[in-house]
Amino acid sequence: MGDLLWILVSAMVVNNFTLFYFLGLCPFMGVSARVDTALRMGAANIFVLILTSLCAWFLNTFILPYAPFLRLISFIVVIASLVQIVEMVIKKVSPALFRQMGIYLPLITTNCAILGLAIFQTNRGYGFLQGMAFAVGAGLGLTLALVLMASIRENTELADIPEVAKGTALIFIIAGSLSLAFMGFAGMLSAT
């Protein structure tokens, strides 16, 4: 149990996907302009991450031992089709949710956080529950980083940012500062 909690906390804050592994930077730059879109993107991410973790575990346990060279290809194919299926299901089941979340799903396909999760999970040999904890932690971490970034960016919109710092330069400096602040979580729950 402590093991699972550590995996979750570690993926969420100690080794935050965005701020420590630089995964999912595209949505971090792209959809972090408004807090509500950031929240929705985060929710969509958590959802897909959990499904991915499930699929990766399935592939790793039952298929890939026989064809290890297909690992990457099978991951990417599964993720792409997964997102497609999820999109279709949501569209059918809840058109309202689809309108809110739908447009982010295709973006997620090429989001390295998803593939990264599958690969990290494989490299570390996580089992089913560990994989779930990892996925939830990673998803929450991504959402946290996205929402923090979005609320900060909304705030800086009204500031007189110097010309040279406008745009991406400032975003990276904010991200760097956030990353510095997240260093405070290093060692969380590990050695006692």
């Binding site: 807090v35 929402v147 609320s151 007189d160 602040a181 997240f182 405070g184 290093a186 060692g187 969380m188």
Partner: protein
């Protein structure tokens, strides 16, 4: 009889007593006793480190900041506060780098005073902490003579300091976390312990804070809620397992909590604008401090607690917007 010239401005024509420079310089003034105590304990090293950090901040503001920005005193505050969070033996060039980073990346890229998200002093310190982890956790002990330097302050820029092991000790929090050795609360209050320059004078800091709060130059709600949260959380944990978790007084008076709660967290620019938000902000800092100190890998969490909550401030501001007069009424309009 007719006045030679008349001023025509928009109303109101009266102004409150405080102006931004007044507030800033009074904060600078209130730091004088803190710096004095630091100098008493750490000798000339204290003054040198604070001066180097301030020089870094002030020079960056002069070179890259808007014209006349120095007069508002905010760069000086950042520099002095940064200096107070550093160990006495830190090479001066590192303190200078911290000041440059704090003002440059923590403030000027956001457009200068009032626009930054993170407390510049703490951002500078967080940078130093990550850049030079060894030097930043080398805590000098008392020197044989007051006038001795407490470490290799004068290390050549970019070069490593020479550390004499015998001259270094540990902070009370470090002792508690890594060696399970407690420190007397009386020693904490008197300041006769190791730590950064501003950590050793909790009572003086508290007094200066009271002065600033009385002059309304800081929002008392922030330190109050930080203290309350830390006291209640650590107090109840202490009741659960006294062997594992230190008591509330120890948590309150050890480390940078006093300095952080009174001078860093209350930085107006990087704290919430609403009073309700200030309570939330203080609670968050207190919570993070306890979590990082007790379950994290670091001995001290005040800096990170404040920086993390700084990042949340825009969100808190949004969530605690006051309800406009007449929009919350349940009265039936007849």
């Amino acid at each position: 009889m007719t006045p030679a010239r008349l001023l025509v401005t928009a109303s109101p024509h009266l102004g409150g007593a405080d102006s931004t420079p007044t507030i800033m310089w009074s904060v600078v003034g209130s730091l004088v006793p803190v710096v004095a105590v630091a100098t008493y304990y750490f000798g000339p090293s204290a003054l040198l480190v604070i001066a180097a950090a301030s020089a870094g901040g002030v020079l960056t503001e002069t070179w890259f900041g808007p014209k006349g920005a120095l007069r508002d005193g905010s760069a000086a505050i950042t520099g002095i506060l940064l200096g107070l969070t550093l160990p006495a033996g830190l090479p001066l060039w590192m303190a200078f780098v911290g000041g440059v980073f704090g003002i440059g990346f923590g403030k000027l890229v956001f457009g200068g005073l009032g626009q930054n998200i993170f407390n510049p002093a703490l951002l500078g310190r967080a940078f130093l902490q990550s850049a030079f982890p060894v030097a930043m956790t080398t805590w000098p002990t008392a020197a044989p003579h007051w006038s001795d330097l407490r470490g290799d302050n004068l290390a050549i820029p970019l070069m490593s300091p020479e550390v004499v092991d015998a001259m270094t000790g540990a902070t009370p929090l470090g002792l508690m976390k890594f060696e399970q050795i407690g420190t007397q609360v009386s020693a904490l209050i008197m300041g006769s312990v190791g730590g950064s320059l501003g950590e050793t004078s909790a009572l003086v800091v508290l007094g200066c804070g009271a002065y600033l709060a009385a002059r309304k130059h800081l929002n008392w709600r922030i330190p109050a809620s930080i203290f309350a949260t830390v006291a209640v959380l650590s107090g109840s944990l202490h009741l659960l397992d006294a062997a594992r978790y230190p008591g509330a007084m120890f948590m309150l008076f050890s480390g940078g909590l006093m300095l952080g709660a009174i001078y860093m967290a209350t930085d107006m620019v990087t704290s919430p604008v609403t009073n309700k938000g200030c309570w939330v902000f203080g609670f968050g800092i207190g919570f993070l401090v306890v979590v990082i100190r007790l379950w994290g890998g670091l001995a001290e969490g005040v800096m990170y607690g404040i920086l993390l909550m700084n990042a949340l401030v825009p969100f808190i501001n949004r969530a605690t917007q006051p309800r406009v007069f007449g929009t919350d009424t349940k009265q039936v309009v007849t």
